[in-house]
Symmetry: C2
Subunit: 226 residues, 2 copies
Protein backbone atom coordinates (compact mmCIF):
# COMPACT_ATOMS: atom_id res chain seq x y z
CA UNK A 1 0.00 0.00 0.00
CA UNK A 2 1.40 3.35 -0.96
CA UNK A 3 1.61 6.07 1.65
CA UNK A 4 -1.02 8.73 0.99
CA UNK A 5 -0.94 10.94 4.01
CA UNK A 6 2.70 10.68 4.89
CA UNK A 7 3.38 10.83 8.56
CA UNK A 8 6.41 13.00 9.09
CA UNK A 9 8.94 11.12 11.10
CA UNK A 10 11.50 13.17 12.91
CA UNK A 11 15.01 12.82 11.59
CA UNK A 12 17.41 10.83 13.75
CA UNK A 13 19.10 12.90 16.39
CA UNK A 14 22.54 12.54 14.86
CA UNK A 15 21.26 14.03 11.61
CA UNK A 16 19.56 16.87 13.42
CA UNK A 17 22.67 17.43 15.50
CA UNK A 18 24.81 17.62 12.38
CA UNK A 19 22.57 20.16 10.71
CA UNK A 20 22.12 22.17 13.85
CA UNK A 21 25.78 22.44 14.71
CA UNK A 22 26.65 23.14 11.09
CA UNK A 23 24.17 25.99 10.96
CA UNK A 24 25.51 27.27 14.20
CA UNK A 25 28.99 27.27 12.73
CA UNK A 26 27.94 28.85 9.45
CA UNK A 27 26.15 31.62 11.32
CA UNK A 28 29.34 32.11 13.30
CA UNK A 29 27.68 31.64 16.65
CA UNK A 30 30.92 30.05 17.79
CA UNK A 31 34.20 31.88 17.78
CA UNK A 32 36.95 30.58 15.50
CA UNK A 33 39.43 28.64 17.58
CA UNK A 34 36.91 28.15 20.36
CA UNK A 35 37.01 24.77 22.03
CA UNK A 36 33.89 22.66 22.01
CA UNK A 37 33.07 19.70 24.20
CA UNK A 38 30.73 16.85 23.42
CA UNK A 39 28.98 17.34 26.70
CA UNK A 40 28.53 21.04 26.09
CA UNK A 41 27.04 20.49 22.65
CA UNK A 42 24.87 17.67 23.96
CA UNK A 43 23.50 19.89 26.69
CA UNK A 44 22.92 22.64 24.14
CA UNK A 45 20.87 20.33 21.96
CA UNK A 46 19.25 18.48 24.81
CA UNK A 47 20.47 15.05 23.71
CA UNK A 48 23.05 12.55 24.85
CA UNK A 49 26.64 12.44 23.68
CA UNK A 50 26.17 9.63 21.18
CA UNK A 51 24.46 11.52 18.36
CA UNK A 52 26.64 14.56 19.03
CA UNK A 53 29.78 12.48 18.62
CA UNK A 54 28.64 11.28 15.22
CA UNK A 55 27.85 14.81 14.13
CA UNK A 56 31.18 16.13 15.39
CA UNK A 57 33.13 13.45 13.57
CA UNK A 58 31.41 14.44 10.34
CA UNK A 59 32.09 18.12 10.89
CA UNK A 60 35.75 17.33 11.50
CA UNK A 61 35.73 15.40 8.24
CA UNK A 62 34.24 18.45 6.54
CA UNK A 63 36.93 20.66 7.98
CA UNK A 64 34.60 22.95 9.90
CA UNK A 65 35.90 21.57 13.17
CA UNK A 66 39.48 20.67 13.91
CA UNK A 67 40.82 18.01 16.20
CA UNK A 68 44.00 18.68 18.13
CA UNK A 69 44.92 15.77 20.35
CA UNK A 70 41.66 14.67 21.83
CA UNK A 71 40.02 18.06 21.83
CA UNK A 72 37.79 19.74 19.30
CA UNK A 73 38.10 23.33 18.15
CA UNK A 74 36.19 25.56 15.78
CA UNK A 75 38.04 25.97 12.51
CA UNK A 76 40.11 29.14 12.45
CA UNK A 77 41.02 29.69 8.82
CA UNK A 78 44.17 31.41 7.68
CA UNK A 79 44.47 33.41 4.48
CA UNK A 80 46.11 30.41 2.90
CA UNK A 81 43.11 28.28 3.75
CA UNK A 82 40.85 30.74 1.99
CA UNK A 83 43.03 30.70 -1.09
CA UNK A 84 43.13 26.91 -1.06
CA UNK A 85 39.37 26.74 -1.13
CA UNK A 86 39.05 29.33 -3.86
CA UNK A 87 41.56 27.58 -6.08
CA UNK A 88 39.46 24.43 -5.92
CA UNK A 89 36.34 26.43 -6.49
CA UNK A 90 37.90 28.01 -9.55
CA UNK A 91 38.37 24.57 -11.05
CA UNK A 92 35.11 22.93 -10.07
CA UNK A 93 32.44 25.56 -10.38
CA UNK A 94 33.12 26.31 -14.06
CA UNK A 95 32.57 22.61 -14.66
CA UNK A 96 29.25 22.90 -12.88
CA UNK A 97 28.29 25.83 -15.10
CA UNK A 98 29.20 23.87 -18.21
CA UNK A 99 27.23 20.81 -17.21
CA UNK A 100 24.26 22.91 -16.13
CA UNK A 101 24.20 24.67 -19.48
CA UNK A 102 23.95 21.26 -21.10
CA UNK A 103 21.35 19.75 -18.79
CA UNK A 104 19.26 22.39 -17.07
CA UNK A 105 15.50 22.07 -17.30
CA UNK A 106 13.12 24.79 -18.43
CA UNK A 107 11.79 25.10 -14.88
CA UNK A 108 15.25 25.77 -13.55
CA UNK A 109 15.85 28.32 -16.28
CA UNK A 110 12.86 30.20 -14.94
CA UNK A 111 14.11 29.93 -11.39
CA UNK A 112 17.49 31.21 -12.48
CA UNK A 113 15.93 34.25 -14.13
CA UNK A 114 13.80 34.80 -11.08
CA UNK A 115 16.86 34.85 -8.86
CA UNK A 116 18.48 37.37 -11.19
CA UNK A 117 15.43 39.62 -11.00
CA UNK A 118 15.24 39.42 -7.24
CA UNK A 119 18.94 40.16 -6.98
CA UNK A 120 18.45 43.25 -9.13
CA UNK A 121 15.70 44.49 -6.84
CA UNK A 122 17.74 43.74 -3.76
CA UNK A 123 20.62 45.71 -5.21
CA UNK A 124 18.41 48.68 -6.04
CA UNK A 125 17.08 48.75 -2.52
CA UNK A 126 20.42 47.90 -0.96
CA UNK A 127 19.08 44.93 1.02
CA UNK A 128 22.43 43.46 1.96
CA UNK A 129 21.05 40.37 3.59
CA UNK A 130 19.09 39.45 0.47
CA UNK A 131 21.95 40.23 -1.85
CA UNK A 132 24.04 37.64 -0.05
CA UNK A 133 21.20 35.12 0.07
CA UNK A 134 20.35 35.43 -3.60
CA UNK A 135 23.99 35.11 -4.50
CA UNK A 136 24.03 31.85 -2.58
CA UNK A 137 20.84 30.69 -4.27
CA UNK A 138 22.29 31.47 -7.68
CA UNK A 139 25.43 29.46 -7.24
CA UNK A 140 23.60 26.66 -5.50
CA UNK A 141 21.09 26.20 -8.29
CA UNK A 142 23.86 25.89 -10.84
CA UNK A 143 25.69 23.33 -8.76
CA UNK A 144 22.62 21.23 -8.11
CA UNK A 145 21.63 21.34 -11.77
CA UNK A 146 24.95 19.96 -12.90
CA UNK A 147 23.74 16.42 -12.34
CA UNK A 148 27.23 15.31 -11.30
CA UNK A 149 26.97 13.68 -7.88
CA UNK A 150 30.66 13.87 -7.10
CA UNK A 151 30.80 17.50 -8.06
CA UNK A 152 27.75 18.29 -5.95
CA UNK A 153 29.31 16.65 -2.93
CA UNK A 154 32.54 18.61 -3.31
CA UNK A 155 30.81 21.88 -3.95
CA UNK A 156 28.63 21.41 -0.89
CA UNK A 157 31.77 21.11 1.20
CA UNK A 158 33.30 24.14 -0.45
CA UNK A 159 30.11 26.04 -0.05
CA UNK A 160 29.97 25.39 3.67
CA UNK A 161 33.54 26.45 4.23
CA UNK A 162 33.05 29.45 2.01
CA UNK A 163 29.99 30.58 3.90
CA UNK A 164 31.81 30.08 7.15
CA UNK A 165 34.80 32.09 6.05
CA UNK A 166 32.70 34.84 4.59
CA UNK A 167 31.41 35.77 8.01
CA UNK A 168 34.83 35.39 9.52
CA UNK A 169 38.05 36.21 7.87
CA UNK A 170 36.22 37.71 4.93
CA UNK A 171 33.73 39.70 6.98
CA UNK A 172 34.81 43.08 5.66
CA UNK A 173 35.10 41.73 2.17
CA UNK A 174 32.86 44.16 0.38
CA UNK A 175 31.05 42.67 -2.56
CA UNK A 176 32.34 43.83 -5.87
CA UNK A 177 30.20 46.06 -8.06
CA UNK A 178 30.41 43.92 -11.15
CA UNK A 179 29.25 40.63 -9.76
CA UNK A 180 25.67 41.19 -10.93
CA UNK A 181 26.64 41.71 -14.56
CA UNK A 182 28.72 38.58 -14.32
CA UNK A 183 25.78 36.63 -13.00
CA UNK A 184 23.71 37.86 -15.91
CA UNK A 185 26.36 36.75 -18.37
CA UNK A 186 26.55 33.33 -16.79
CA UNK A 187 22.79 33.03 -16.85
CA UNK A 188 22.62 33.96 -20.53
CA UNK A 189 25.17 31.35 -21.44
CA UNK A 190 23.37 28.65 -19.47
CA UNK A 191 19.98 29.45 -20.94
CA UNK A 192 21.48 29.48 -24.42
CA UNK A 193 22.82 26.04 -23.67
CA UNK A 194 26.34 27.21 -24.43
CA UNK A 195 28.44 25.08 -22.10
CA UNK A 196 31.81 26.47 -23.17
CA UNK A 197 30.68 30.03 -22.67
CA UNK A 198 29.06 29.28 -19.30
CA UNK A 199 32.26 27.66 -18.17
CA UNK A 200 34.33 30.63 -19.28
CA UNK A 201 32.07 33.21 -17.66
CA UNK A 202 32.01 31.32 -14.39
CA UNK A 203 35.76 31.01 -14.41
CA UNK A 204 36.21 34.72 -14.91
CA UNK A 205 33.64 35.37 -12.20
CA UNK A 206 35.61 33.39 -9.65
CA UNK A 207 38.94 34.74 -10.80
CA UNK A 208 37.63 38.20 -10.09
CA UNK A 209 36.82 37.04 -6.60
CA UNK A 210 40.33 35.69 -6.22
CA UNK A 211 41.88 38.91 -7.44
CA UNK A 212 39.78 40.78 -4.92
CA UNK A 213 41.01 38.43 -2.21
CA UNK A 214 44.56 39.22 -3.24
CA UNK A 215 44.10 42.91 -2.64
CA UNK A 216 42.40 42.32 0.69
CA UNK A 217 45.12 40.04 1.95
CA UNK A 218 47.85 42.33 0.79
CA UNK A 219 46.53 45.06 3.05
CA UNK A 220 46.50 42.63 5.95
CA UNK A 221 49.92 41.29 5.14
CA UNK A 222 51.49 43.02 8.15
CA UNK A 223 49.70 40.64 10.51
CA UNK A 224 51.21 37.79 8.57
CA UNK A 225 54.38 37.84 10.64
CA UNK A 226 53.91 34.48 12.24
Amino acid sequence: MKPISPIIKPEPLHVQAYKYIQNYLLDNEFSPGERLTELGLAAMLGVSRGPVREAVRLLIHDGLLVQKGVHIYVFDPTFDDVIDVYLCKERLEPLAAKLSAQHMSQASHDTLLDIINRTKQALEQDEKRNIVNFNTEFHDLIIQSSGNKQLIQFMNLIHAKNLYMRNNILSNYDRRDHFFEEHVRITDAIINGDGEQAELEMKMHIQNDINMLGTIFKSNQKDDSK
Copy 2:
Protein backbone atom coordinates in the same frame (compact mmCIF):
# COMPACT_ATOMS: atom_id res chain seq x y z
CA MET B 1 60.61 17.20 29.18
CA LYS B 2 60.59 16.03 25.62
CA PRO B 3 59.52 12.49 24.85
CA ILE B 4 62.56 10.39 23.93
CA SER B 5 61.25 6.91 23.75
CA PRO B 6 57.80 7.56 22.44
CA ILE B 7 55.28 5.10 23.71
CA ILE B 8 53.01 4.18 20.86
CA LYS B 9 49.45 4.68 21.88
CA PRO B 10 46.90 2.69 19.98
CA GLU B 11 44.59 4.74 17.84
CA PRO B 12 41.02 5.04 19.08
CA LEU B 13 38.82 2.23 17.93
CA HIS B 14 36.64 4.41 15.76
CA VAL B 15 39.72 5.51 13.81
CA GLN B 16 40.91 1.95 13.43
CA ALA B 17 37.42 0.87 12.44
CA TYR B 18 37.28 3.55 9.76
CA LYS B 19 40.61 2.57 8.26
CA TYR B 20 39.89 -1.11 8.49
CA ILE B 21 36.51 -0.97 6.85
CA GLN B 22 37.81 1.41 4.22
CA ASN B 23 40.65 -0.94 3.34
CA TYR B 24 38.21 -3.77 3.24
CA LEU B 25 36.08 -1.83 0.80
CA LEU B 26 39.02 -0.73 -1.35
CA ASP B 27 40.21 -4.31 -1.59
CA ASN B 28 36.72 -5.26 -2.62
CA GLU B 29 36.27 -7.80 0.11
CA PHE B 30 32.62 -6.79 0.16
CA SER B 31 30.37 -7.13 -2.84
CA PRO B 32 28.94 -3.95 -4.34
CA GLY B 33 25.34 -3.60 -3.23
CA GLU B 34 25.88 -5.95 -0.29
CA ARG B 35 24.10 -4.97 2.87
CA LEU B 36 26.18 -4.38 5.98
CA THR B 37 25.00 -4.30 9.56
CA GLU B 38 26.60 -2.49 12.44
CA LEU B 39 26.52 -5.63 14.49
CA GLY B 40 28.13 -7.66 11.75
CA LEU B 41 30.96 -5.20 11.31
CA ALA B 42 31.39 -4.89 15.05
CA ALA B 43 31.69 -8.64 15.40
CA MET B 44 34.15 -8.68 12.51
CA LEU B 45 36.37 -6.13 14.22
CA GLY B 46 35.79 -7.43 17.72
CA VAL B 47 34.47 -4.15 19.09
CA SER B 48 31.13 -2.74 20.09
CA ARG B 49 28.74 -0.90 17.84
CA GLY B 50 29.70 2.60 18.96
CA PRO B 51 33.02 3.00 17.13
CA VAL B 52 31.63 1.14 14.13
CA ARG B 53 28.74 3.55 13.87
CA GLU B 54 31.08 6.50 13.72
CA ALA B 55 33.18 4.84 11.06
CA VAL B 56 30.14 3.91 9.01
CA ARG B 57 28.77 7.44 9.12
CA LEU B 58 32.07 8.72 7.77
CA LEU B 59 32.16 6.14 5.02
CA ILE B 60 28.65 7.13 4.01
CA HIS B 61 29.83 10.72 3.91
CA ASP B 62 32.69 9.62 1.66
CA GLY B 63 30.30 7.84 -0.65
CA LEU B 64 31.80 4.40 -0.22
CA LEU B 65 28.74 3.23 1.64
CA VAL B 66 25.18 4.17 0.83
CA GLN B 67 22.25 4.53 3.16
CA LYS B 68 18.81 3.53 1.96
CA GLY B 69 16.20 4.02 4.64
CA VAL B 70 17.84 2.81 7.77
CA HIS B 71 20.07 0.25 6.13
CA ILE B 72 23.61 0.44 4.88
CA TYR B 73 24.83 -0.95 1.57
CA VAL B 74 28.16 -1.14 -0.18
CA PHE B 75 28.39 1.44 -2.95
CA ASP B 76 27.52 -0.02 -6.32
CA PRO B 77 28.76 2.47 -8.87
CA THR B 78 27.18 2.98 -12.26
CA PHE B 79 29.07 4.08 -15.35
CA ASP B 80 27.76 7.57 -14.75
CA ASP B 81 29.26 7.57 -11.28
CA VAL B 82 32.63 6.69 -12.73
CA ILE B 83 32.40 9.50 -15.25
CA ASP B 84 31.33 11.94 -12.54
CA VAL B 85 34.44 11.15 -10.55
CA TYR B 86 36.73 11.38 -13.53
CA LEU B 87 35.36 14.74 -14.57
CA CYS B 88 36.22 16.12 -11.15
CA LYS B 89 39.59 14.48 -11.28
CA GLU B 90 40.25 16.05 -14.65
CA ARG B 91 39.78 19.48 -13.09
CA LEU B 92 41.54 19.00 -9.79
CA GLU B 93 44.56 16.87 -10.48
CA PRO B 94 46.06 19.22 -13.09
CA LEU B 95 45.88 21.90 -10.42
CA ALA B 96 47.79 19.59 -8.11
CA ALA B 97 50.44 19.07 -10.77
CA LYS B 98 50.79 22.80 -11.28
CA LEU B 99 51.14 23.55 -7.59
CA SER B 100 53.55 20.69 -7.10
CA ALA B 101 55.75 21.96 -9.90
CA GLN B 102 55.93 25.25 -8.05
CA HIS B 103 56.49 23.90 -4.56
CA MET B 104 58.00 20.46 -4.61
CA SER B 105 61.16 19.88 -2.58
CA GLN B 106 64.36 18.33 -3.86
CA ALA B 107 63.75 15.25 -1.76
CA SER B 108 60.37 14.72 -3.38
CA HIS B 109 61.90 15.20 -6.80
CA ASP B 110 64.16 12.29 -6.02
CA THR B 111 61.26 10.20 -4.79
CA LEU B 112 59.36 11.00 -7.95
CA LEU B 113 62.23 9.86 -10.13
CA ASP B 114 62.58 6.76 -8.04
CA ILE B 115 58.95 5.90 -8.59
CA ILE B 116 59.44 6.36 -12.30
CA ASN B 117 62.41 4.01 -12.31
CA ARG B 118 60.63 1.37 -10.31
CA THR B 119 57.63 1.64 -12.61
CA LYS B 120 59.88 1.08 -15.60
CA GLN B 121 61.29 -2.05 -14.04
CA ALA B 122 57.86 -3.30 -13.08
CA LEU B 123 56.71 -2.79 -16.66
CA GLU B 124 59.68 -4.65 -18.08
CA GLN B 125 59.02 -7.57 -15.81
CA ASP B 126 55.26 -7.31 -16.15
CA GLU B 127 54.63 -7.19 -12.39
CA LYS B 128 51.01 -6.08 -12.59
CA ARG B 129 50.55 -5.61 -8.89
CA ASN B 130 53.52 -3.25 -8.69
CA ILE B 131 52.54 -1.35 -11.77
CA VAL B 132 49.25 -0.47 -10.14
CA ASN B 133 50.90 0.35 -6.82
CA PHE B 134 53.55 2.59 -8.32
CA ASN B 135 50.93 4.36 -10.35
CA THR B 136 49.10 5.08 -7.13
CA GLU B 137 52.29 6.26 -5.46
CA PHE B 138 53.03 8.57 -8.35
CA HIS B 139 49.71 10.34 -8.29
CA ASP B 140 49.64 10.42 -4.52
CA LEU B 141 52.99 12.11 -4.21
CA ILE B 142 51.94 14.85 -6.59
CA ILE B 143 48.74 15.45 -4.68
CA GLN B 144 50.41 15.56 -1.31
CA SER B 145 53.12 17.88 -2.60
CA SER B 146 50.60 20.43 -3.81
CA GLY B 147 50.42 21.99 -0.37
CA ASN B 148 46.75 22.82 -0.85
CA LYS B 149 44.82 21.32 2.06
CA GLN B 150 41.43 21.55 0.41
CA LEU B 151 42.73 19.95 -2.73
CA ILE B 152 44.35 17.15 -0.78
CA GLN B 153 41.12 16.40 1.03
CA PHE B 154 39.14 16.22 -2.20
CA MET B 155 41.73 14.15 -3.99
CA ASN B 156 41.82 11.70 -1.11
CA LEU B 157 38.10 11.18 -1.51
CA ILE B 158 38.44 10.81 -5.25
CA HIS B 159 41.34 8.49 -4.82
CA ALA B 160 39.40 6.19 -2.53
CA LYS B 161 36.44 6.00 -4.87
CA ASN B 162 38.72 5.56 -7.81
CA LEU B 163 40.56 2.70 -6.21
CA TYR B 164 37.28 1.13 -5.25
CA MET B 165 35.89 1.37 -8.75
CA ARG B 166 39.06 0.14 -10.35
CA ASN B 167 38.60 -3.24 -8.76
CA ASN B 168 34.92 -3.23 -9.51
CA ILE B 169 33.30 -1.78 -12.52
CA LEU B 170 36.70 -1.07 -14.05
CA SER B 171 38.20 -4.43 -13.25
CA ASN B 172 38.85 -5.39 -16.85
CA TYR B 173 40.02 -1.91 -17.66
CA ASP B 174 43.38 -2.73 -19.10
CA ARG B 175 45.98 -0.08 -18.49
CA ARG B 176 46.92 1.85 -21.53
CA ASP B 177 50.33 1.46 -23.09
CA HIS B 178 51.19 5.13 -23.11
CA PHE B 179 50.64 5.93 -19.47
CA PHE B 180 54.30 5.53 -18.62
CA GLU B 181 55.50 8.05 -21.20
CA GLU B 182 52.88 10.42 -19.87
CA HIS B 183 54.14 9.98 -16.34
CA VAL B 184 57.64 10.78 -17.55
CA ARG B 185 56.44 13.95 -19.24
CA ILE B 186 54.60 15.04 -16.11
CA THR B 187 57.67 14.34 -14.02
CA ASP B 188 59.91 16.36 -16.33
CA ALA B 189 57.61 19.34 -16.15
CA ILE B 190 57.42 19.20 -12.37
CA ILE B 191 61.17 18.89 -11.91
CA ASN B 192 61.70 21.77 -14.31
CA GLY B 193 59.36 23.78 -12.15
CA ASP B 194 57.13 24.45 -15.13
CA GLY B 195 53.67 24.65 -13.58
CA GLU B 196 51.80 25.37 -16.78
CA GLN B 197 53.37 22.44 -18.57
CA ALA B 198 52.81 20.09 -15.64
CA GLU B 199 49.18 21.10 -15.55
CA LEU B 200 48.77 20.52 -19.25
CA GLU B 201 50.47 17.13 -19.24
CA MET B 202 48.38 15.97 -16.30
CA LYS B 203 45.22 17.13 -17.99
CA MET B 204 46.04 15.19 -21.14
CA HIS B 205 46.93 12.18 -19.05
CA ILE B 206 43.52 12.10 -17.42
CA GLN B 207 41.70 12.89 -20.62
CA ASN B 208 43.29 9.83 -22.13
CA ASP B 209 41.87 7.86 -19.25
CA ILE B 210 38.45 9.32 -19.87
CA ASN B 211 38.61 8.52 -23.56
CA MET B 212 39.53 4.97 -22.66
CA LEU B 213 36.55 4.84 -20.33
CA GLY B 214 34.35 5.97 -23.17
CA THR B 215 35.37 3.04 -25.34
CA ILE B 216 34.93 0.60 -22.48
CA PHE B 217 31.49 1.81 -21.63
CA LYS B 218 30.40 1.86 -25.21
CA SER B 219 31.09 -1.84 -25.49
CA ASN B 220 29.04 -2.43 -22.35
CA GLN B 221 26.29 -0.15 -23.53
CA LYS B 222 23.97 -3.08 -24.21
CA ASP B 223 23.63 -3.79 -20.52
CA ASP B 224 22.65 -0.17 -20.03
CA SER B 225 19.01 -0.91 -20.77
CA LYS B 226 17.74 -0.06 -17.32
